[in-house]
Amino acid sequence: MKIFTCIKQVPGVSEVKIDPKTNTLVRKGIPSITNPMDNNATELALSIKEKHGGEVIALSMGPPQAEEVLRQALAMGADEAYLLTDRAFAGADTLATSHTLGLAIKKILKDSGDEKKYLVICGTQAIDGDTAQVGPELAEELGLPQITYVQKCELKGDKIITERVFRSEETVIIESKLPALISVLKEVNDPRFPTMTGIVNAHEEMEVKYLNANDLKAGKENIGLTGSKTEVFKIFIPEKKGKHVVLEGSVEEMVQQLCNNLKEDKLL
């Protein structure tokens, strides 16, 4: 059985800082990382493989430097890795991204004798684009049942049994036959750290295979910017709100002033 994990390279956004003078993003020195939930996806794929057998195949669409996140997946234990890279893929919205990923999965399945039983695992959302749309759209592209927001997952025969979070007070056990697509939350597991041998192997022995638009027989009208329906029109730093009334005086005075203000605003 083939288990695909979809991995996105993202800027480590928690370290993105705003330059207070120019009000712009400081990107210098921000490392690119594997989207955190995608490590959970790879971990789940590996643990299913360890129990039930199969092959773990890591996929990423991105610029050539995204090869690094695939090397990391190989170091964790993935069997194969494919980088979908082409200038024609750039500027993709989620519709075009899911189409490209879907073409690659179909091609890999076809080239290996049309396996019918497979599982695709995505992260629920990426920390940069943050739409959580690629998983469901990829499921639609492949015509698969989808289960999103998965916090527990188990394989039983030709079925996966999952626990899906709906709201803080409700989870649902949902099962689906394979093939299927699931997108996972970070609660699903704790990703392993690659071993030294794993890292050496991934960088020296193993290959990241490249696929371009031609290899995927992708139609230009469905990929990259041209295949995208949404367009980024404008990007800006959120403006600061607030009236900046910093109260002054002793604690007692400040508190009294605050209560007076709140009373005026009819909040007390």
Partner: protein
């Protein structure tokens, strides 16, 4: 498809560099240059005041859709245990505004099994029409049945805008519907506006962990679909109005769904409902330790508030997860939000900055929370809060 810089026109001002989220453009020797990291998103093209950045899109025989066939604004309601999720009301408020600007009608769509008695109440929030898809099995949520039904309805009726709550349910079916329709979908919008020039929907959303806002448009296809986080817009006042109700009966059975719901697990329902609270007192790391959270509770009790906190306080186990405010927690819009010992990281601010009045109590005068606060008190919360409680009690007893 490419982005190039006309170096004759470029003034080297750097506005493009500031606009790029990818580090894809740099100013070298006073001229902008596109780098390897360019993702062709086109943000720099809009930012350039000299018209020096040229964005060439190849026309590759994409069939042009006749946009004028699409009319009307739709809101898709979701529900839980027989109650319509409140985000649907909030979307009706915004949807009404958009529909009025476009001079079109507003439709509420419900997929469910027992809403007959609620339709009258639901007609009071701005819709001109309610489409009620009735089927026993739709009491529960099924990804594939929602997708199938909504895709059929949208294909047949051709609305120009479809709004969906960005809940765990909405974010499950919205992308699937969008993909089947080959339509653009913008996630987690915090602003929706009609472009007066083109009548396109401008959809503004936070990205990069809330550090950047992006305005997205879907200029060449319809419908324009968007999900919106609960708490972003306000529920409109209820008003009696004439509404056309269309009921469509579907004869679905469990076999029609490819996934099977095995069991629904209800966890202990949280007592706190932050999204509906009028006043919230929230604590951060500055509270110091778990035991100290008591004074937050006392303040909440005195002023009649619910309790929230930053992610740090959740991680430290001072308060439960469902009381976390922020990007990965709840988005709240109370009348009054009192932040105590919270620094005001962007991920926290995106969850509370639309509150009507924000009070910040923090000992560090340079804490970013003061940038959004209407009233700020610089001081040790262990001194300020007890004094504040005293004062509130005085004010309240004077009223009685």
């Amino acid at each position: 498809m490419s982005i190039t810089v006309d170096s004759e026109l470029c003034s080297g001002c750097g506005a493009c560099v500031a606009s790029c989220p990818y580090g894809g453009i740099e100013v070298i020797d006073d001229k902008a240059c596109i780098t390897e990291d360019c993702n062709l998103c086109g943000a720099c093209v809009e930012a350039c005041t000299m018209d020096a950045i040229i964005w060439t899109k190849e026309e590759v025989g994409i069939e042009k859709v006749d946009l004028s066939q699409y009319k009307g604004v739709w809101v898709i309601a979701e529900h839980y245990k027989g109650n319509i999720h409140k985000v649907a009301y909030q979307l009706l408020g915004k949807g009404r505004e958009l529909a009025d600007t476009l001079h079109v009608s507003l439709t509420l769509v419900i997929l469910g099994d027992a809403f007959d008695d609620q339709l009258e109440e639901l007609s009071m929030y701005g819709a001109d029409e309610i489409i009620y898809v009735k089927s026993k099995i739709l009491k529960n949520y099924y990804s594939d049945l929602y997708t199938k039904t909504l895709t059929e309805l949208i294909t047949e009726n051709k609305p120009e805008i479809v709004l969906i709550g960005a809940t765990a349910t909405g974010r499950d079916f919205a992308p699937r519907v969008a993909k089947r329709l080959n339509a653009g979908l913008t996630a987690d919008c915090t602003g929706l506006e009609i472009d007066p020039k083109t009548n396109n929907l401008f959809q503004t959303r936070p990205t990069f962990g809330g550090n950047i806002m992006a305005t997205i448009r879907t200029p060449n296809s319809r419908p324009q679909m968007a999900t919106v986080r609960p708490g972003t817009f306000k529920k409109p006042e209820a008003k009696k109005r004439k509404v056309n109700i269309r009921q469509i009966d579907y004869d679905y059975s469990e076999k029609d769904s490819v996934t099977k719901i095995v069991k629904v697990i209800n966890r202990e329902k949280s007592k706190v409902n932050l999204e509906d609270a009028e006043i919230i007192v929230a604590g951060g790391r500055g509270v110091g330790k778990k035991e100290n959270f008591k004074i937050i509770e006392e303040l909440a009790e005195a002023i009649g508030a619910e309790i929230g906190g930053s992610r740090v306080t959740v991680e430290l186990n001072w308060i439960p997860q469902d009381q976390q405010v922020g990007q990965t927690g709840k988005t709240v819009t109370p009348k009054l939000y009192i932040a105590c010992g919270i620094s005001g990281a962007i991920q926290h601010l995106v969850g509370m900055e639309n509150s009507d009045i924000i009070v910040a109590i923090n000992k560090d005068p340079s804490a970013p929370i003061f940038n959004v606060a209407h009233y700020g008190i610089v001081g040790d919360l262990h001194k300020v809060i007890p004094a504040l409680i005293e004062n509130i009690k005085k004010v309240k007893s004077a009223e009685d």
